[in-house]
């Protein structure tokens, strides 16, 4: 199988991630062919998920399709890179019914247009007119400050990560101090015992 994939989909390189998980990175124009190939020639009939990762620095989205065999013994992870602006991707909702709602979700969260999906209505956000919220150029804090009012009294908010770090360090120091004190106490107790004898 790997050979066929390598020869037929020249750009692809199959990586065995786990015994039941293969990964292949492929150019977008061969994606549909590969999925068809796996669907028709093997028992990869279940679409588990379509996920999207926003690589803003590299300027593209990584779409990952997880398709599984009928007996659920093996999963193929097919990754493909698509552009970030005005993304148009072919829909798989005709082949896999469950793709419909996954694509709808991605459309809502990333603004990816799936051609051939008949219902791309927003799923959990209603009347959303701003940047799709999971794109990384969307700054939630800025949005919140702009659109929502805070109750007074949250201004003393500290940076949570730094605060956690500080607290952890404090805790660690305390723990070590405790340990030392305990060791010292143990040693003195031992000494006393020996003295007692």
């Amino acid at each position: 199988m790997f050979k066929t994939i390598k020869s037929n989909f020249a750009t692809a390189d199959v990586e065995v991630k786990r015994q039941d998980l293969y990964k292949v990175v492929i150019k977008y124009d061969r994606l549909s062919a590969l999925i068809d190939f796996l669907y028709n020639n093997y028992t990869y009939k279940i679409l588990n998920a379509i996920t999207c990762t926003d690589w803003i620095e590299e300027g593209h989205f990584a779409l990952t399709y997880l398709i599984t065999t009928e007996d659920r013994s093996n999963t193929f992870m097919i990754q493909t890179l698509v552009g970030r602006e005005d993304t148009k991707v072919e829909s798989f909702s005709k082949k896999f019914k469950q793709a419909q709602i996954m694509e709808r979700d991605l459309h809502e969260m990333y603004g990816i247009d799936f051609i051939g999906n008949d219902n791309l209505k927003e799923l959990s956000l209603e009347n959303w007119v701003h940047t799709p919220p999971l794109r990384r150029e969307f700054d939630t804090l800025e949005f919140v400050n702009e659109h929502l009012t805070f109750r007074e009294g949250r201004e003393d908010n500290v940076d949570v990560k730094a605060e956690t770090k500080r607290l952890r360090a404090l805790k660690k120091a305390q723990k070590e101090a405790d340990k030392k004190a305990k060791e010292a106490a143990d040693a003195s107790a031992l000494k006393e015992n020996e003295d007692g004898k």
Binding site: S124, T140, L148, F150, R151
Partner: protein
């Protein structure tokens, strides 16, 4: 029945009845009935809903204070906004609140309703519930335990008994303010578009 439990019940009920106020006897009686019987809408809006089942079932038994669940907004007196409140939920909460019949009260549960809580920088969660709905009683915590919820209820009951809990009047009087805020986060139009005079309408037999 244990000693301690009866004692607790006695304390709670005593607490409930301790309020003496300066109302006319008719008002006092009416408020007394309202305070003794509270139907709570069983509508879990957020993660805090998980604290409601223990409150209403055998362990904490809210029914001994006259508090029980109602399935539909038509029958409910109190809506509990339990925890964080996303826009999508908010729309349903408003709809439900407007379908409840007066007098009606709002009990807000958890930090998220107070100031956004751990969702303080989330793009689709409101931060201050009182901008959108009039709140009678906040119960703080993340999440508040059933004891706190019961205590919140008893405080609410006290206010009802004293005739002080009147958030629904506030909602009617400041309807434009609330509707403006609601529309700011929910988009153009809040369906169904009740006009303010909807509340002044007196029809029927």
């Amino acid at each position: 029945m244990e000693e301690g439990f009866l004692l607790e019940q006695k304390t709670l009920e005593g607490d409930l009845n301790s309020e003496t106020s300066h109302q006319s006897s008719v008002d006092f009686l009416m408020n007394w009935f309202r305070k003794r019987s509270i139907f709570v809408l069983a509508y879990g809006t957020g993660c805090g809903a998980i604290e409601m089942p223990p409150t209403f079932t055998s362990r904490y038994d809210a029914e001994r204070l006259g508090i029980r669940g109602a399935a539909t907004p038509r029958q409910a007196d109190v809506i509990i906004v339990s925890g964080y409140c996303s826009y999508k939920t908010l729309r349903r909460i408003i709809r439900t609140y407007e379908q409840m019949s007066n007098p009606k009260y709002v009990l807000a549960l958890g930090s998220c309703t107070v100031n956004g809580g751990m969702y303080w920088d989330s793009y689709n969660t409101i931060k201050k519930l009182e901008d959108y709905l009039p709140v009678d009683m906040y119960v703080n915590g993340c999440m508040p335990r059933p004891e706190s919820i019961l205590e919140g209820f008893i405080e609410l009951q006290k206010e009802i008994g004293a005739g002080k809990a009147s958030s629904w009047q506030k909602y009617e009087e400041n309807h434009e303010f609330y509707r403006k805020n609601q529309e700011a986060v929910l988009g153009e139009k809040v369906e169904p578009s009740y006009e303010a005079d909807w509340y002044l309408y007196e029809g029927g037999l």
